[in-house]
Protein backbone atom coordinates (compact mmCIF):
# COMPACT_ATOMS: atom_id res chain seq x y z
CA UNK A 1 0.00 0.00 0.00
CA UNK A 2 2.78 2.38 1.01
CA UNK A 3 4.81 1.50 -2.10
CA UNK A 4 1.79 2.17 -4.27
CA UNK A 5 1.44 5.61 -2.70
CA UNK A 6 5.13 6.38 -3.27
CA UNK A 7 4.88 5.24 -6.90
CA UNK A 8 1.82 7.42 -7.47
CA UNK A 9 3.51 10.40 -5.87
CA UNK A 10 6.60 9.99 -8.01
CA UNK A 11 4.48 9.63 -11.15
CA UNK A 12 2.55 12.85 -10.42
CA UNK A 13 5.78 14.70 -9.64
CA UNK A 14 7.41 13.47 -12.86
CA UNK A 15 4.29 14.47 -14.82
CA UNK A 16 4.34 17.99 -13.35
CA UNK A 17 8.06 18.45 -14.08
CA UNK A 18 7.70 17.20 -17.64
CA UNK A 19 4.60 19.38 -18.04
CA UNK A 20 6.51 22.46 -16.86
CA UNK A 21 9.37 21.86 -19.29
CA UNK A 22 6.91 21.16 -22.11
CA UNK A 23 5.02 24.41 -21.42
CA UNK A 24 8.30 26.32 -21.22
CA UNK A 25 9.56 24.89 -24.51
CA UNK A 26 6.30 25.34 -26.40
CA UNK A 27 5.36 28.83 -25.23
CA UNK A 28 8.90 30.23 -25.36
CA UNK A 29 9.15 29.23 -29.01
CA UNK A 30 5.63 30.12 -30.14
CA UNK A 31 4.55 32.92 -27.79
CA UNK A 32 1.11 33.13 -26.18
CA UNK A 33 -1.32 30.39 -26.98
CA UNK A 34 -5.10 30.19 -26.72
CA UNK A 35 -5.04 28.50 -23.32
CA UNK A 36 -3.09 31.35 -21.76
CA UNK A 37 -5.37 33.96 -23.32
CA UNK A 38 -8.43 32.02 -22.11
CA UNK A 39 -7.20 31.82 -18.52
CA UNK A 40 -6.23 35.48 -18.63
CA UNK A 41 -9.65 36.48 -19.97
CA UNK A 42 -11.44 34.50 -17.24
CA UNK A 43 -9.42 35.91 -14.36
CA UNK A 44 -8.77 39.49 -15.55
CA UNK A 45 -12.17 40.84 -14.29
CA UNK A 46 -11.35 39.33 -10.88
CA UNK A 47 -7.88 40.88 -10.96
CA UNK A 48 -9.36 44.22 -12.01
CA UNK A 49 -11.85 44.21 -9.11
CA UNK A 50 -9.14 43.19 -6.62
CA UNK A 51 -6.86 45.90 -7.97
CA UNK A 52 -9.46 48.63 -7.40
CA UNK A 53 -10.43 47.27 -3.98
CA UNK A 54 -6.81 47.09 -2.78
CA UNK A 55 -5.74 50.48 -4.13
CA UNK A 56 -6.29 52.38 -0.82
CA UNK A 57 -4.27 49.79 1.12
CA UNK A 58 -1.53 49.87 -1.52
CA UNK A 59 -1.40 53.66 -1.47
CA UNK A 60 -1.09 53.60 2.33
CA UNK A 61 1.87 51.19 2.29
CA UNK A 62 3.54 53.15 -0.50
CA UNK A 63 2.92 56.39 1.38
CA UNK A 64 4.93 55.10 4.36
CA UNK A 65 7.75 53.97 2.12
CA UNK A 66 7.79 57.24 0.19
CA UNK A 67 7.69 59.30 3.42
CA UNK A 68 10.82 57.58 4.74
CA UNK A 69 12.44 58.07 1.36
CA UNK A 70 11.38 61.70 1.13
CA UNK A 71 12.97 62.62 4.46
CA UNK A 72 16.33 61.46 3.19
CA UNK A 73 15.98 63.29 -0.09
CA UNK A 74 14.71 66.58 1.34
CA UNK A 75 18.07 68.30 1.65
CA UNK A 76 19.23 67.13 -1.73
CA UNK A 77 16.04 68.43 -3.32
CA UNK A 78 16.44 71.85 -1.69
CA UNK A 79 19.80 72.34 -3.34
CA UNK A 80 18.47 71.04 -6.64
CA UNK A 81 15.52 73.42 -6.37
CA UNK A 82 17.84 76.43 -6.25
CA UNK A 83 19.55 75.31 -9.43
CA UNK A 84 16.21 74.50 -11.05
CA UNK A 85 14.81 77.95 -10.27
CA UNK A 86 17.70 79.57 -12.10
CA UNK A 87 17.21 77.23 -15.03
CA UNK A 88 13.44 77.82 -15.05
CA UNK A 89 13.93 81.50 -15.81
CA UNK A 90 16.03 80.59 -18.85
CA UNK A 91 13.57 77.88 -19.80
CA UNK A 92 10.64 80.30 -19.81
CA UNK A 93 12.43 82.48 -22.32
CA UNK A 94 13.26 79.41 -24.38
CA UNK A 95 9.63 78.26 -24.24
CA UNK A 96 8.39 81.58 -25.56
CA UNK A 97 10.91 81.38 -28.37
CA UNK A 98 9.96 77.76 -29.01
CA UNK A 99 6.28 78.69 -29.21
CA UNK A 100 7.00 81.25 -31.87
CA UNK A 101 9.13 78.78 -33.82
CA UNK A 102 6.41 76.14 -33.64
CA UNK A 103 3.87 78.58 -35.01
CA UNK A 104 6.25 79.46 -37.75
CA UNK A 105 6.78 75.84 -38.67
CA UNK A 106 3.09 74.99 -38.32
CA UNK A 107 3.73 72.15 -35.87
CA UNK A 108 1.30 70.81 -33.35
CA UNK A 109 1.32 73.11 -30.33
CA UNK A 110 1.19 70.42 -27.71
CA UNK A 111 4.03 68.41 -29.21
CA UNK A 112 3.79 65.86 -26.42
CA UNK A 113 2.13 63.22 -28.52
CA UNK A 114 3.29 62.88 -32.10
CA UNK A 115 0.76 63.28 -34.88
CA UNK A 116 -1.03 60.16 -36.07
CA UNK A 117 -1.18 58.56 -32.64
CA UNK A 118 -4.39 58.11 -30.65
CA UNK A 119 -3.84 57.85 -26.88
CA UNK A 120 -5.83 55.17 -25.03
CA UNK A 121 -5.83 55.53 -21.25
CA UNK A 122 -5.47 52.38 -19.15
CA UNK A 123 -4.95 51.44 -15.53
CA UNK A 124 -2.24 49.09 -14.27
CA UNK A 125 -4.02 46.08 -12.79
CA UNK A 126 -1.16 43.73 -12.01
CA UNK A 127 2.59 43.58 -11.89
CA UNK A 128 5.19 40.83 -12.10
CA UNK A 129 6.41 39.76 -8.63
CA UNK A 130 9.94 38.92 -9.75
CA UNK A 131 12.72 41.34 -10.48
CA UNK A 132 13.47 39.46 -13.73
CA UNK A 133 10.30 40.48 -15.53
CA UNK A 134 9.78 44.23 -15.47
CA UNK A 135 6.33 44.33 -16.91
CA UNK A 136 2.80 45.28 -15.92
CA UNK A 137 -0.66 44.32 -17.10
CA UNK A 138 -3.11 47.09 -18.01
CA UNK A 139 -6.89 46.95 -18.36
CA UNK A 140 -7.09 47.90 -22.05
CA UNK A 141 -6.49 45.47 -24.88
CA UNK A 142 -7.09 44.76 -28.54
CA UNK A 143 -10.78 45.59 -28.03
CA UNK A 144 -9.73 49.20 -27.30
CA UNK A 145 -7.47 49.40 -30.33
CA UNK A 146 -4.26 48.51 -28.51
CA UNK A 147 -1.75 46.55 -30.55
CA UNK A 148 1.61 44.90 -30.01
CA UNK A 149 4.58 47.35 -30.08
CA UNK A 150 2.42 50.38 -29.27
CA UNK A 151 4.42 52.85 -27.13
CA UNK A 152 3.19 53.45 -23.57
CA UNK A 153 3.68 56.71 -21.66
CA UNK A 154 2.48 58.35 -18.47
CA UNK A 155 2.46 61.97 -17.32
CA UNK A 156 6.20 61.94 -16.69
CA UNK A 157 7.53 60.23 -19.78
CA UNK A 158 8.11 56.98 -21.62
CA UNK A 159 7.04 53.85 -19.73
CA UNK A 160 7.51 51.00 -22.20
CA UNK A 161 5.89 49.18 -25.06
CA UNK A 162 3.00 46.73 -25.46
CA UNK A 163 4.39 43.20 -25.68
CA UNK A 164 1.21 41.13 -25.80
CA UNK A 165 -2.52 41.80 -25.96
CA UNK A 166 -5.73 39.97 -25.17
CA UNK A 167 -9.25 41.28 -25.73
CA UNK A 168 -9.38 43.32 -22.53
CA UNK A 169 -5.81 43.42 -21.22
CA UNK A 170 -2.31 44.10 -22.47
CA UNK A 171 1.14 43.30 -21.13
CA UNK A 172 3.44 46.31 -21.10
CA UNK A 173 7.16 45.62 -21.07
CA UNK A 174 8.75 48.47 -19.16
CA UNK A 175 11.88 50.23 -20.39
CA UNK A 176 13.74 48.66 -17.43
CA UNK A 177 13.01 45.10 -18.63
CA UNK A 178 16.04 43.15 -19.80
CA UNK A 179 14.51 42.71 -23.26
CA UNK A 180 13.99 46.46 -23.74
CA UNK A 181 16.16 48.69 -25.90
CA UNK A 182 15.22 52.25 -26.88
CA UNK A 183 17.02 54.39 -29.43
CA UNK A 184 17.46 57.73 -27.70
CA UNK A 185 19.19 61.08 -27.97
CA UNK A 186 20.40 63.69 -25.56
CA UNK A 187 18.93 67.17 -25.73
CA UNK A 188 20.01 69.74 -26.63
CA UNK A 189 23.25 68.21 -27.96
CA UNK A 190 21.45 65.61 -30.11
CA UNK A 191 23.98 62.87 -29.29
CA UNK A 192 22.43 59.52 -30.22
CA UNK A 193 22.63 56.22 -28.36
CA UNK A 194 20.87 53.01 -27.39
CA UNK A 195 19.19 52.97 -23.99
CA UNK A 196 19.32 49.64 -22.17
CA UNK A 197 18.42 48.69 -18.60
CA UNK A 198 20.49 47.40 -15.74
CA UNK A 199 18.48 44.37 -14.54
CA UNK A 200 17.39 44.66 -10.90
CA UNK A 201 17.88 48.41 -10.64
CA UNK A 202 14.79 50.23 -11.97
CA UNK A 203 16.41 53.62 -11.47
CA UNK A 204 19.41 52.94 -13.68
CA UNK A 205 19.36 52.88 -17.46
CA UNK A 206 22.54 52.86 -19.53
CA UNK A 207 22.78 55.00 -22.67
CA UNK A 208 25.26 53.11 -24.78
CA UNK A 209 27.08 53.67 -28.07
CA UNK A 210 27.35 57.44 -27.72
CA UNK A 211 28.65 58.19 -31.19
CA UNK A 212 29.99 61.60 -30.31
CA UNK A 213 33.16 63.38 -29.30
CA UNK A 214 31.16 65.72 -27.06
CA UNK A 215 31.31 65.02 -23.33
CA UNK A 216 27.97 64.52 -21.61
CA UNK A 217 27.16 66.25 -18.31
CA UNK A 218 24.78 65.45 -15.47
CA UNK A 219 21.23 66.78 -15.76
CA UNK A 220 20.92 66.56 -19.55
CA UNK A 221 17.56 65.23 -20.72
CA UNK A 222 17.10 62.12 -22.82
CA UNK A 223 14.27 61.69 -25.34
CA UNK A 224 13.41 59.01 -27.88
CA UNK A 225 15.21 59.54 -31.16
CA UNK A 226 12.70 57.77 -33.38
CA UNK A 227 15.19 55.83 -35.49
CA UNK A 228 15.39 52.01 -35.49
CA UNK A 229 18.57 50.22 -34.52
CA UNK A 230 19.65 46.99 -36.17
CA UNK A 231 18.25 44.03 -34.23
CA UNK A 232 15.77 46.08 -32.22
CA UNK A 233 12.28 45.95 -33.62
CA UNK A 234 10.17 48.25 -31.47
CA UNK A 235 9.90 51.72 -32.91
CA UNK A 236 9.10 54.65 -30.64
CA UNK A 237 8.03 58.02 -32.04
CA UNK A 238 10.66 60.76 -31.63
CA UNK A 239 10.94 63.24 -28.74
CA UNK A 240 9.09 61.33 -26.01
CA UNK A 241 10.84 62.29 -22.74
CA UNK A 242 12.62 59.34 -21.08
CA UNK A 243 14.82 60.64 -18.26
CA UNK A 244 17.93 62.58 -17.34
CA UNK A 245 21.63 61.88 -17.02
CA UNK A 246 22.48 61.20 -13.37
CA UNK A 247 25.96 59.77 -13.71
CA UNK A 248 28.46 60.51 -16.46
CA UNK A 249 31.98 59.58 -15.30
CA UNK A 250 34.65 60.73 -17.78
CA UNK A 251 36.41 57.35 -17.67
CA UNK A 252 33.22 55.47 -18.52
CA UNK A 253 32.38 57.90 -21.32
CA UNK A 254 35.79 57.59 -22.94
CA UNK A 255 36.34 53.86 -22.40
CA UNK A 256 32.84 52.41 -22.80
CA UNK A 257 30.99 55.31 -24.43
CA UNK A 258 28.11 55.16 -21.98
CA UNK A 259 26.33 57.27 -19.35
CA UNK A 260 23.71 56.43 -16.70
CA UNK A 261 20.13 57.66 -16.98
CA UNK A 262 17.34 57.87 -14.39
CA UNK A 263 13.87 57.56 -15.95
CA UNK A 264 11.41 60.41 -15.35
CA UNK A 265 8.52 57.99 -14.87
CA UNK A 266 8.27 56.30 -11.46
CA UNK A 267 8.19 52.77 -12.83
CA UNK A 268 7.64 51.18 -9.40
CA UNK A 269 4.40 53.04 -8.77
CA UNK A 270 2.59 53.14 -12.08
CA UNK A 271 -1.15 53.67 -12.01
CA UNK A 272 -2.61 55.37 -15.09
CA UNK A 273 -0.81 55.10 -18.42
CA UNK A 274 -1.55 56.01 -22.02
CA UNK A 275 -1.04 53.67 -24.93
CA UNK A 276 -0.24 55.52 -28.15
CA UNK A 277 -2.22 53.51 -30.67
CA UNK A 278 -2.05 53.85 -34.43
CA UNK A 279 0.85 55.89 -35.82
CA UNK A 280 3.75 54.66 -37.86
CA UNK A 281 5.84 51.66 -36.89
CA UNK A 282 8.37 52.30 -39.62
Amino acid sequence: MYRKQVRRRRAVLALLIVGSFALLTITYQQGNDGMQRGVSTIFSPLVSVADRALKPARDMVNWFDETFDAKGRNEQLHSELEVARKQAVGAKAALAENEQLRKLLGLDNSGAIPGGYTPVTGRVISRSPTVWFSDVTIDVGSGDGVGVDDPVVNGDGLVGTVAAVTGGTARVTLIVDHSSAVTAKLVPSGTQGLLKPSVGDPEDLVLDFLASEKLVGKGQSVVTSGFRAIGYESGYPPNLPIGEVVEAPLVEQEAQQQVHIKPYADLRNLDLVQVLTGGSRG
Binding site: L23, L24, D69, V124
Partner: protein, 182 residues
Protein backbone atom coordinates in the same frame (compact mmCIF):
# COMPACT_ATOMS: atom_id res chain seq x y z
CA UNK B 1 -4.07 15.81 4.50
CA UNK B 2 -7.52 14.32 3.90
CA UNK B 3 -8.75 15.64 0.57
CA UNK B 4 -12.50 16.08 0.31
CA UNK B 5 -14.32 18.21 -2.31
CA UNK B 6 -14.74 20.89 0.35
CA UNK B 7 -11.02 20.95 1.17
CA UNK B 8 -10.14 20.88 -2.53
CA UNK B 9 -12.31 23.96 -3.05
CA UNK B 10 -10.56 25.69 -0.16
CA UNK B 11 -7.15 24.84 -1.63
CA UNK B 12 -8.18 26.26 -5.02
CA UNK B 13 -9.49 29.42 -3.33
CA UNK B 14 -6.24 29.81 -1.36
CA UNK B 15 -4.06 29.40 -4.46
CA UNK B 16 -6.18 31.68 -6.71
CA UNK B 17 -6.59 34.24 -3.93
CA UNK B 18 -2.87 34.14 -3.20
CA UNK B 19 -1.91 34.73 -6.84
CA UNK B 20 -4.39 37.59 -7.26
CA UNK B 21 -3.34 39.21 -3.97
CA UNK B 22 0.31 38.93 -5.00
CA UNK B 23 -0.28 40.53 -8.40
CA UNK B 24 -2.65 43.28 -7.31
CA UNK B 25 -1.21 44.18 -3.92
CA UNK B 26 2.21 42.87 -2.89
CA UNK B 27 3.84 43.31 -6.30
CA UNK B 28 2.63 46.90 -6.44
CA UNK B 29 3.77 48.06 -3.02
CA UNK B 30 7.32 48.98 -2.19
CA UNK B 31 8.89 48.49 1.24
CA UNK B 32 12.53 49.59 1.44
CA UNK B 33 12.47 49.76 -2.39
CA UNK B 34 11.55 46.07 -2.66
CA UNK B 35 8.18 44.52 -3.49
CA UNK B 36 7.40 41.52 -1.26
CA UNK B 37 6.95 38.16 -3.02
CA UNK B 38 4.81 36.07 -0.68
CA UNK B 39 3.66 33.47 -3.19
CA UNK B 40 6.62 31.11 -2.47
CA UNK B 41 5.85 31.44 1.27
CA UNK B 42 2.21 30.46 0.63
CA UNK B 43 3.32 27.41 -1.36
CA UNK B 44 5.80 26.47 1.40
CA UNK B 45 2.99 26.59 3.97
CA UNK B 46 0.73 24.45 1.76
CA UNK B 47 3.58 21.96 1.36
CA UNK B 48 4.21 21.93 5.11
CA UNK B 49 0.56 21.27 5.90
CA UNK B 50 -0.34 18.98 3.02
CA UNK B 51 2.86 17.11 2.18
CA UNK B 52 5.06 16.94 -0.89
CA UNK B 53 2.36 16.03 -3.42
CA UNK B 54 -0.02 18.78 -2.30
CA UNK B 55 2.87 21.25 -2.23
CA UNK B 56 4.01 20.29 -5.72
CA UNK B 57 0.51 20.42 -7.26
CA UNK B 58 -0.31 23.75 -5.56
CA UNK B 59 3.06 25.17 -6.64
CA UNK B 60 2.55 24.07 -10.23
CA UNK B 61 -0.99 25.51 -10.32
CA UNK B 62 0.03 28.82 -8.73
CA UNK B 63 2.96 29.17 -11.16
CA UNK B 64 0.75 28.35 -14.14
CA UNK B 65 -1.88 30.91 -13.11
CA UNK B 66 0.80 33.51 -12.43
CA UNK B 67 2.35 33.04 -15.88
CA UNK B 68 -1.08 33.13 -17.55
CA UNK B 69 -2.11 36.37 -15.83
CA UNK B 70 1.23 38.02 -16.54
CA UNK B 71 1.08 36.83 -20.19
CA UNK B 72 4.68 35.57 -20.04
CA UNK B 73 6.06 32.25 -21.37
CA UNK B 74 4.40 29.45 -19.39
CA UNK B 75 6.31 26.86 -17.39
CA UNK B 76 9.00 28.91 -15.62
CA UNK B 77 6.87 29.92 -12.64
CA UNK B 78 5.30 26.44 -12.48
CA UNK B 79 8.68 24.71 -12.39
CA UNK B 80 10.12 26.92 -9.65
CA UNK B 81 7.04 26.92 -7.40
CA UNK B 82 6.52 23.18 -7.94
CA UNK B 83 10.05 22.53 -6.64
CA UNK B 84 9.46 24.93 -3.73
CA UNK B 85 6.23 23.20 -2.67
CA UNK B 86 7.73 19.73 -3.08
CA UNK B 87 10.77 20.57 -0.92
CA UNK B 88 8.56 22.04 1.82
CA UNK B 89 6.39 18.92 1.78
CA UNK B 90 9.43 16.66 1.83
CA UNK B 91 10.69 18.53 4.91
CA UNK B 92 7.39 17.90 6.65
CA UNK B 93 7.52 14.18 5.79
CA UNK B 94 11.11 13.71 6.94
CA UNK B 95 11.25 15.90 10.05
CA UNK B 96 8.94 16.90 12.86
CA UNK B 97 8.16 20.56 13.41
CA UNK B 98 9.05 21.16 17.05
CA UNK B 99 9.69 24.89 17.05
CA UNK B 100 7.39 27.75 16.09
CA UNK B 101 10.32 29.21 14.18
CA UNK B 102 10.45 26.35 11.68
CA UNK B 103 7.66 27.55 9.32
CA UNK B 104 8.95 31.15 9.02
CA UNK B 105 12.55 29.97 8.65
CA UNK B 106 11.52 27.51 5.98
CA UNK B 107 9.50 30.24 4.25
CA UNK B 108 12.59 32.44 4.27
CA UNK B 109 14.94 29.77 2.97
CA UNK B 110 12.64 28.47 0.28
CA UNK B 111 11.66 31.99 -0.85
CA UNK B 112 15.36 32.62 -1.43
CA UNK B 113 15.49 29.30 -3.28
CA UNK B 114 12.48 30.32 -5.42
CA UNK B 115 13.95 33.74 -6.23
CA UNK B 116 17.23 32.08 -7.24
CA UNK B 117 15.15 29.64 -9.30
CA UNK B 118 13.33 32.46 -11.12
CA UNK B 119 16.73 34.01 -11.80
CA UNK B 120 18.17 30.73 -13.07
CA UNK B 121 15.20 30.20 -15.43
CA UNK B 122 15.61 33.72 -16.77
CA UNK B 123 19.36 33.30 -17.24
CA UNK B 124 18.75 30.00 -19.06
CA UNK B 125 16.29 31.72 -21.38
CA UNK B 126 18.90 34.41 -22.08
CA UNK B 127 19.19 37.91 -20.65
CA UNK B 128 20.57 40.48 -23.04
CA UNK B 129 21.38 43.15 -20.47
CA UNK B 130 23.80 43.76 -17.59
CA UNK B 131 22.55 42.35 -14.26
CA UNK B 132 22.79 44.74 -11.32
CA UNK B 133 24.09 43.58 -7.96
CA UNK B 134 20.86 45.00 -6.52
CA UNK B 135 19.20 41.77 -7.71
CA UNK B 136 20.90 39.99 -4.79
CA UNK B 137 19.69 42.63 -2.32
CA UNK B 138 16.19 42.26 -3.76
CA UNK B 139 16.26 38.49 -3.25
CA UNK B 140 17.57 38.72 0.32
CA UNK B 141 15.05 41.38 1.36
CA UNK B 142 12.22 39.34 -0.17
CA UNK B 143 13.36 36.36 1.91
CA UNK B 144 13.30 38.48 5.06
CA UNK B 145 9.75 39.62 4.22
CA UNK B 146 8.80 35.95 3.79
CA UNK B 147 10.18 35.19 7.26
CA UNK B 148 7.97 37.82 8.88
CA UNK B 149 4.89 36.97 6.81
CA UNK B 150 5.48 33.21 6.99
CA UNK B 151 4.09 32.67 10.46
CA UNK B 152 0.92 34.69 9.74
CA UNK B 153 0.37 32.78 6.50
CA UNK B 154 0.97 29.48 8.34
CA UNK B 155 -1.63 30.27 11.00
CA UNK B 156 -4.18 31.51 8.47
CA UNK B 157 -3.84 28.58 6.07
CA UNK B 158 -3.75 26.09 8.95
CA UNK B 159 -7.03 27.48 10.23
CA UNK B 160 -8.60 27.34 6.74
CA UNK B 161 -7.52 23.72 6.23
CA UNK B 162 -7.98 22.52 9.82
CA UNK B 163 -10.68 19.88 9.08
CA UNK B 164 -8.33 18.15 6.63
CA UNK B 165 -5.23 18.08 8.80
CA UNK B 166 -4.10 14.88 10.46
CA UNK B 167 -3.34 16.05 13.99
CA UNK B 168 -0.16 14.67 15.49
CA UNK B 169 -0.38 13.38 19.09
CA UNK B 170 0.45 16.02 21.67
CA UNK B 171 3.91 15.75 23.15
CA UNK B 172 4.03 14.20 26.57
CA UNK B 173 4.57 16.79 29.24
CA UNK B 174 7.91 16.72 30.96
CA UNK B 175 6.55 18.20 34.18
CA UNK B 176 5.92 15.57 36.86
CA UNK B 177 2.33 15.44 38.16
CA UNK B 178 1.68 17.13 41.49
CA UNK B 179 0.99 14.56 44.19
CA UNK B 180 -1.26 15.79 46.96
CA UNK B 181 -1.32 14.60 50.62
CA UNK B 182 2.27 13.51 51.13
Amino acid sequence: MILTPNILARLVAIVVGGVILQLTFFSQVSIFHVSPDLLPALIVVLGLLGGSLTGAVCGFSAGFLLDCLLIVPLGGGSLVLLATGYLAGLFRERFEIHSVLVPPLLCMGLTLFAELGFGAVELMLGIDAPVSTLVIRDMLVKSVFAFFAGWAIYIGVRRALRPALVEEPALRRNRRPTVLGT
